[in-house]
Symmetry: C2
Subunit: 342 residues, 2 copies
Amino acid sequence: MAPKRIMPGKIRLAEVAKLAGVSPITASRFFRNPEALSAGKRARVESAAKELGYVPNLAARALASQRTEVIGVLIPSLTNNVFSDVLRGIYDALDGSRYSIQLANTRYSILQEERLLRLFLAQKPAGLIVTGINQTADSRAIMETVDCPIVQIMETGPSPIDMMIGFSHFDAARAAIGHLLAQGYRRIGFLGARMDPRVQRRLDGYRAAMSDAALFDPQIIVTTAIPTSVTLGGTLLADLLAKAPDIDAVFCVNDDLALGALFECKRRHMAVPEQMAIVGFNDLEFMASSEPTLSSVRTNRYEMGRNAAMMVIETLEGRRPAEPVVDLGFSVMERQSSARRS
Amino acid sequence: MAPKRIMPGKIRLAEVAKLAGVSPITASRFFRNPEALSAGKRARVESAAKELGYVPNLAARALASQRTEVIGVLIPSLTNNVFSDVLRGIYDALDGSRYSIQLANTRYSILQEERLLRLFLAQKPAGLIVTGINQTADSRAIMETVDCPIVQIMETGPSPIDMMIGFSHFDAARAAIGHLLAQGYRRIGFLGARMDPRVQRRLDGYRAAMSDAALFDPQIIVTTAIPTSVTLGGTLLADLLAKAPDIDAVFCVNDDLALGALFECKRRHMAVPEQMAIVGFNDLEFMASSEPTLSSVRTNRYEMGRNAAMMVIETLEGRRPAEPVVDLGFSVMERQSSARRS
DNA sequence: CAATCGCTTGGTAGCGCTGTCAATATCGGT
DNA sequence: ACCGATATTGACAGCGCTACCAAGCGATTG
């Protein structure tokens, strides 16, 4: 006779069911689909559960039902402010719901992303949120066969794996350059760091806008694979000025670089925007309160995260969003740092 | 006869065991305690697992073993840069280990924290990382009875629940004020936002230092419950200057406020540090590259997260850290914004 | 040579919940 | 009053893994 591992004082679904005078399976249904119960039993199970302080065992539920209530989230960076806003949106959307989040950091590597994806899928997540549209062919193939809602976030593009929410980095960058051109700037430099796929598309947008205006000059593009920082913004601007002292504006692929560029201008006693216009990207909070205030491209990061999570939940609950691809757009925030040339 | 829910093509531990020619329980041991197997069987199970691409089912494991390999992390904010550094440290430490993270946001509410704590503990986490030393009495009582490693992070204090890693916010603030006093500043204002317990302790440190120098004046303290931001730094400094135009320095409880204060000074054409010294707190990356560079108190956030996670892991693996309370200290970074008065 | 010891290994029986279907209760329509 | 349809409820087994104990086995010992 093998031993019974007794858990004394442990409240299981069976205890709740007994107190409520129903079968365990009926009690189970109360937690997953209360509408299926008659009002009387529902109330009885509810009060029994509360009286006993019952908390479902998620491991048992996952094992029995062959699925979890975990939404996997793959993002490339935990440091970047952009992603902390997205994450906040995701967490807010899931707050109070039955779902929880499993977060993993791809560190901007699609191979790492593929590895993490396999890891996640082995545990049968309820849904998946992945960053961007550049996955390995294998990653894509895996995700296409998997039976759970998947949302690609941060950008839009053709052929979504399932759902998609973001905006066009190409259009956003082109619009930012359009603004500078409209303000009369002509020698507009480009400052880029990290150069992940979305930053590349911003560079493409810059190139398109400058070419259209017959102002494109590869000499005034400065990029690096180094992760972004405010300090780097200063360094890159210094590099650019060394190569091309005649530039009258810079487009920075993010706000950290823009802030660094602003400080570099101050160190050089270059007036912003009179001698140098600056436009950033993302519109972090500080851009509106710097001196001078800094122009930027506002992106809806919190909403992106929030909507992505909501799209997953709605799909899981059978209310699949009418539109699987959502473009949240952007807006060019025109501030002092790129005001019309005197 | 009830139906068998067959999972075709599913690789379970039993399949691995069969291919390896051992019993399932032996195969199980391979994954949890390889040393307990003879070299021959170990190799056989290993190759069988690899050949079949076996991935353990964590739900089944959790159900059978009555514990999970999840470390719960409770932090008050996802937005704050401080916590993203801590999180990065935690994730880095756990990368490659068997443990994963369950993150929850208390939104600076200890009641919310208590709720989340109960939620976590119901799922029997392997360990717990909680922020700060201010928990509800109930939270504390719960954690003291729970049988898993717990690390309190962000600050040190008396009577740890289990382990603790952080530094003294009181001492750090006092040191910052000491630096300003040493540089010859006398009317040192205080700018505080959010006013969570750790910010309160910085205020206490400020008060102690100013009182010791017989310079304490409650009129030059400006605080608000509003969450911090760069914009708010400007607003608070404006408030302070309206009340006390004669201040010659400000200590800001974080770097966002300090940056906002710097911009406000620029808007008012007040020279920093000649007319107004500024010291921040945390030493975020941009502090060293602003113009002028901004003094701050460096805190070891990444290390805090990383060590906290390592302390949990080591305890779980039976190598309990010799010292359960770790003070990571701080250092006052003296930069241009608080250089000696002319 | 028998008794003992430590190391490996295996058998058995759940862990707590839910999928599947069958059984029963309820109800409107003719 | 009868029939089929719909709403509730329950019985049973099993999801994949591991805790617990016992058994096998060679080595050691007096």
